[in-house]
Structures are given as structure tokens and as C-alpha cells.
Symmetry: C2
Subunit: 251 residues, 2 copies
């Protein structure tokens, strides 16, 4: 069974549910999702939609009962298994609403495995609305037919991130002060990309990052990139060189 989505995308509605799905299982949707199916799309018994649970792939589901605030569905069959996700983390200093939502959305489309918000000295936004970020990630996954969501980690300070850094996971950090051209194919294996705040890292932070044996300072060219642009550019470069973008595209 192919893990990649078919093209063109089916016109069936597609929703994420945070419960394990399986053949014959019953699913109850409430509030926003029920309203979407029942009131917005006006679907009723017999109508089919797709569901995914970030655990077991994508399933075809049929509406059994549709009320104003509740929709019950029956799982008919599995359509796809959960996709393989390249082992890339994206660690980023929170930036303002709108731009950070864009990072979360793009990271989800691009196949990042884990999003790690990191508070640095020059981070202006130190509170993160995890629920809103997750909602953006879910919407991107629903619309782009993904069967896996990135993990959204709790925000933590940079020194805590570095202290607990998993041995063997390469840490590429976009360093405005310079670094090697980003050539991730040279260092295979689990990786992470660290994008600093708009004001950059302090000298002490840069030294602390560079002190990690896994750290690799990289340059993303001679122009200044905003944090959200740098995040998408770096993830794309990694996916193209060390991720799964050399795979055959979907059938």
C-alpha cells in the first residue's frame, strides 16, 4: 500500500482525530469538526471522509449519524499506512504570531519530525500559544494529505536544549556570523536545524552552541533572511540533500 498520497488529491474531506483508528472502529466528532462536516459541508449518513490519527495512517470513514453538534462515523477501511518521516528536528526561537504560525505550517508540509521552540537571550516573544500552533500544523497536515504530524515540543531555554542534546544528532545552526555552505549530505543521520531570533545569537550563545561536538555552523548565503524564511530554506536544503526528496514522487 503506497504511503504517499495520490495525485490529484481526492476531493473527500480529510480530518485529523487524536484517537487510534482501526477497521470497524467508531469515531465521534464534536464541536468544530462536527460543525464543519454537518453544517458547513452539509454531509449526512452515508457520506465518506478520510481520517488520520498520526499513528496508523489514513482511513476511509462513513458517516453514520450527523447532528448539529455531533457526528458519528464508522471506519470502513485503511487507505494508507503512516508515512515514513525523515529524522529532522527544527529548533527555532519564537517570533511573532503570523510568522511563527507560518513556520509551523511550512515545517508540517515539508516533513519535519519535531518542532522545538527555543528561548534565547534576544527572543522577543517568550510565550508560545501551543494550541494555536498545533491547530495550524493540523490544518496543514489535513490539507496536504499527510499522515503524520510533527511532534511539538515544550519551549525550553537554549542552555537547557544544549545541556540535554542527544549525542549523534547533528545540529546545524544558521549563523549570521558565518559558517560553511550548507551541505548536509556530508553528514548523514539524525539532524536538527536551529534558527535564532531576529536579533541573532549573542556571542556567548554562539560559543555555547559551537562547543557541542554535534554543532555545525552553516551559512544560508550572502543575503539576510528573516527567521521564518531561513527555517524553510534550511529545511528544504536538508530535505533535498539528506532527506527524502530524491525519492520518486507519488504514483
Amino acid at each position: 500500500m503506497p504511503a504517499t498520497p495520490a495525485w490529484p488529491p481526492s476531493s473527500l474531506p480529510r480530518l485529523y482525530v487524536d484517537q487510534p483508528l482501526g477497521e470497524g472502529a467508531s469515531v465521534t466528532l464534536e464541536s468544530q469538526q462536527a460543525n464543519y462536516l454537518g453544517a458547513v459541508l452539509r454531509l449526512g449518513p452515508g457520506a465518506q471522509i478520510k481520517l488520520f490519527d498520526d499513528r496508523s495512517g489514513e482511513w476511509l470513514a462513513e458517516i453514520v449519524e450527523a447532528g448539529k453538534k455531533r457526528v458519528t462515523l464508522r471506519i470502513v477501511q485503511q487507505l494508507r499506512e503512516r508515512e515514513a518521516v525523515p529524522d529532522l528536528w527544527l529548533a527555532f526561537a519564537p517570533i511573532k504570531k503570523g510568522r511563527i504560525d507560518w513556520i509551523a505550517e511550512k515545517a508540517t508540509e515539508l516533513g519535519v519530525a519535531r518542532l522545538v521552540p527555543v528561548i534565547t537571550q534576544r527572543t522577543i516573544v517568550d510565550r508560545l500559544n501551543g494550541e494555536r500552533l498545533l491547530a495550524h500544523m493540523i490544518e496543514a497536515a489535513e490539507q496536504c494529505e499527510r499522515t503524520a504530524l510533527p511532534e511539538l515540543a515544550e519551549a525550553r531555554k537554549l542552555d537547557a536544549l544544549l545541556k540535554d542534546w542527544p549525542a549523534g544528532r547533528t545540529l546545524y545552526f544558521a549563523d549570521e556570523m558565518g559558517g560553511e555552505p550548507f551541505a548536509p549530505a556530508a553528514t548523514p543521520g539524525p539532524a536538527a536545524i536551529l534558527i535564532g531570533p531576529e536579533g541573532g545569537f549573542t556571542d556567548a550563545e554562539r560559543a555555547a552552541i559551537r562547543a557541542l561536538p554535534e554543532a555545525r555552523p552553516v551559512s544560508l548565503g550572502p543575503r539576510i533572511l528573516r527567521a521564518d524564511t531561513a527555517a524553510v530554506a534550511a529545511v528544504s536544503l536538508w530535505m533535498g540533500a539528506a532527506g527524502d526528496w530524491t525519492q520518486s514522487p507519488r504514483s
Copy 2:
């Protein structure tokens, strides 16, 4: 004189003006720009800002007179020459406001030479607000210390784009039906990236594009990417492999 911006970015305000600048020249700013300097930043005579004109680089300017609706400046000296811009065009089907603004902004940060809106059969948005797009491009260029703006071409239909295609300019198009992994280093020289609408190209359009000798269908991996994500990903991959991202970063 270095063409790349110094790090950290100077805190001097930085504005684009659509007039040729030169040493000793006088510049008059009105309406929005005058209001920004005079009322928002409350700058007065003697204050210095940076100006660029997309022709001759970046210049240090000093305020001579500041009124509510008009600010006059004197050009003091040149700070940087106009940067070299990699020869990459980005052709894209217009998408809705917000997302298309992101594309214009990101393309400006990433160093695209020319933006070409292309109307395809499945393009939903067929009217383009060129002024608004240009405003986003200017803002990105001002904030990211660029001395060059991408050229913003008039929108045209796909068949017109293909009919007038300049010989020798490689046309990479992101094809959901498949293509080679995107490896632009293999084909040096002027290039363009074509991103279709959210609904994709029709079979006839795909055939017409592929009929161009310069056309190269490329895949951006096994996941579905929205048009704005695909645009930034593809431009980043080209810049990393065939653009100027292997240059030493800024001094």
C-alpha cells in the same frame, strides 16, 4: 567596497526611493515615507538614514528639513554598491492575498531577479494587485538590507509565457505528476522556476511546458506542498546548488 550587508544590521532606518541617488544629491520624501521618518521615528535635521534606489547601491543620507508631510535629505556618501543578483526568475500562478504576498516577500529575501505572475487554467485568482505586491517586496528589501529589488513583471497567460520563452533559460517546473529530483547544479546558466496553481497544471498545459527544450520537470519530494511553500523550497534549492549560497557569508 563590500556588496553584502554587515552584521549585525545597523539600526539606521533604511528606505527605498525610486530615483537615482548620487553623492550630494537631494532627496525629497513625501506622504508615507515622510510620515514614517518625521512622525513615527521623530527624526529631525542632522539625523541619518540609509537609502537605496535599486540602481546604484546604498547611500548614507542626512535629513536637512523635516516637516509633517515632507522630508528633505542630502546624500552624504555611498555605503555599498548594488549587489550582484543571481539570474533566477520565479514564475508563479497567482494565489490568494496573504499567500501571494508571502511569495513576493520571500522571493525578495532569497534574491530572485524577476517575479513573473502566470495565469493558468486552474488559477483561481486572476487579478493581481501589483502595487500591493511591490509594497511587500520593497518592505522586505528595506528590512533585509538588500540593494536590489526583483523585477515584477506583468501577469501573462501560460501560453504567452511559453511562446516568448527566452532560449537558453532553463525552466524548472514543479510537477506533481513527477520529475527528476531537483539538482540544478547540473544545468548552469540563467534559470526560472515555474510553480503552478493549487489545482495543478492540466494535462495540456503540462504537455505544452514539456514541449519547450528548456523545460525540466522536477519533483520536490513525496509530500504535497502548497504553492507558496514549493516556491520558497525550490528557490532555496536553486540558490544552494546553482546560486550564490556557496559564497562566503557577509563580513
